[in-house]
Symmetry: C2
Subunit: 125 residues, 2 copies
């Protein structure tokens, strides 16, 4: 190394250990105008889409299914899927699952569907 | 599920099992104008920067160190770091490590430094 400054990595498991709720994405890091978020989910989310952007799901623990109007994808630990922009989807997890989400800043968890499950945006952990 | 189409997840371990070289990033998926790439690394890379973009490193196996001119960050499995745009950096791994890289399309592994270690860009796996 050329200098002494110790930069800090983001440890996904450590950050997940701080989360005790579900369906509330929390921001870990930013890359340009994108954000990395962790979230714990269990049960059924609502149908929604993000007309302006793709959205990436990476499963860190557990298994999820993302339903689409014409089918579904099942993701286990270490599996990634990019939901194309404008495509309606509904995440589901039978048991609690832990996800890394990657998407542009400012994207709400419910897209434009709204409702009481809409989480506050841009909450850091 | 609402339809019968089975979409395919990207399994990071399966994709890594297909890689038998080092320092050659391969594209797994795209999100808008960004790409997810896997790469195996061992030893010292060269000093370089990406003046136009941040670059994200997520360690999937092993441990790496990213040196900066004023310090360093060490990343173990499940740890993430975003190298800010324009900051010179040099990845290093004492033993082979497996990484997920996230960055815009069109970014060369050596930035603008060039040289023989520059990998062909936009190679999918």
């Amino acid at each position: 190394m050329s200098g002494n400054k110790q930069y800090q990595p983001v440890n996904l498991k450590e950050k997940l250990s701080l989360v005790d709720d579900q369906w509330v994405p929390r921001v870990l890091a930013e890359m340009n105008d994108y954000q990395f978020k962790i979230v714990k989910i269990k049960g059924d989310f609502i149908w929604h889409d993000h007309p302006e952007t793709d959205e990436t799901f990476l499963v860190l623990e557990g298994e999820i299914r993302i339903d689409f109007r014409d089918g579904a994808v099942t993701l286990g630990k270490g599996e990634l899927f990019v939901v194309p922009k404008g495509i309606e989807h509904k995440p589901f997890a039978e048991e609690e699952a832990h996800l890394l989400l990657i998407e542009p800043k400012g994207i709400l968890n419910t897209g434009h569907a709204g409702g009481e499950i809409t989480a506050q945006n841009d909450v850091w952990i």
